[in-house]
Symmetry: C2
Subunit: 246 residues, 2 copies
């Protein structure tokens, strides 16, 4: 049974301040928890009896996992989401790291992404395209926000999230960088790239001039219709779809 | 001043049942309301005094617009969103129409898209790529849902939304159709298309077998990493970015 202190602790992890202090986070949702369990990094699971029953094959492979069967009303209390799920997992936030060398890989760099859903969706896109690291400017929304984690659909376990100022990262990486803008070179003019940095900026303002000055190319998704802009995560997806696949 | 009956009416439009009965909907948000006003289809605006002051040049061009200056607490009461905006517009839902002939255009067909944010984001993608019509299966989330409208960022005014069963539409259109699946032909194998139907299915189940049987091609975004799937709106964006731009 969960103690009052444990319940309070799990609820506190909805807030960035407590996540940063304890270096732990929660993930909610049937599919996400299953994926994270397969990945072997889950410390504890809180789930309804029916979910535990359904997942007994998976759970039997994880004898050291701490599992708490909880009643739906308690799970609802623990949940950070308006539509609570049947399972929730507790995990460690990986230790903070500096950006690694690209060594023939692609990195995404995000400047001031504010929407947790967009952040999570971009992490999922990176995972789909095999992008190992995402560099987030310190003013991006926290990647371990419960809404972000939900939008990653489990991809948070496979993509390294690194907080770093963008300009020093670009200077140190010393590879070609491609900045998503509204008035740059048509993405269809480029061949597929094997190594480089793709940059996506804030939802309303895009990338800052300071960052743009340090980028090799400004690139643009050709607009054939009337919309003023695209959603930041969709733009990231379209750019990956062109720049990585050719 | 808004009467109690008007307030009740605007609030009722948060619900699909009332939108369908009255054939009207509301749109919220500074930028969206501005875009819709420029498009000339707004019937009434409810906005705070500071927003009206800021937009006086735009509003002066619309002498027949009915404008109500409201206090922020009342706007909050009218709002369907958790973070209410400074302006809200009332518009007519366009009359229901049958799918038009493609005549050298691309159409999107959506089967059972359930998330209002995805629906709105897909409408915005269609607008960006100049896709004039979106065919929605009758069990899609309502395109005039307040969360959908917000995610369209004004694009709702430029893309025709048509409710129709997908299979009769495919049969009648009689052009090549491209179904997004997880195990189809690599999208990079195709040249840019000028006419045709791109199909996107439900967020968890994808397209139904019944619809797939009526499609010319099954297409797939190549997966280079570990994610099981992509967000439906992101997939729609990547597919448009390849199939329309070549």
């Amino acid at each position: 049974m969960l103690s009052k202190a444990q319940i309070k602790y799990i609820q506190a992890l909805q807030h960035k301040k407590y996540r940063q202090k304890s270096r732990q986070f929660t993930a909610e949702g049937d599919k996400i928890v299953q994926e994270l369990l397969r990945d072997g990094r889950v410390l504890e699971v809180y789930a309804t009896a029916d979910w535990v029953e359904e997942q007994q094959v998976l759970l039997a492979q994880l004898p050291s996992l701490r599992l708490e069967v909880v009643e739906p009303p308690l799970l609802k209390q623990l949940s950070a989401l308006t539509t609570p799920n049947r399972a929730m997992a507790l995990l460690d936030i990986p230790p903070a790291a500096a950006p690694g060398p690209l060594n023939g890989t692609i990195a995404l760099a995000l400047e001031t992404i504010q929407d947790p859903g967009n952040m999570g969706t971009i992490i999922r896109i990176a995972d789909w395209f095999g992008i190992p690291q995402i560099i987030c400017s310190p003013d991006c929304v926290d990647a371990y926000n419960p809404k972000t984690i939900q939008a990653t659909m489990g991809s948070i376990a496979r993509v390294q999230i690194i907080e770093s100022d963008i300009i020093p990262f670009l200077q140190q990486a010393n590879v070609a960088s491609y900045a998503a803008t509204l008035h740059g070179r048509d993405i269809t003019e480029f061949d597929a790239i094997k190594e480089g940095i793709l940059l996506i900026g804030n939802e309303s303002r895009g990338l800052s001039d300071a960052v743009l000055e340090h980028c090799t190319y400004r690139i643009t998704i050709p607009r054939l219709g009337g919309a003023e802009s695209l959603n930041a995560a969709v733009a990231a997806g379209i750019i990956c779809g062109r720049m990585l696949l050719g």
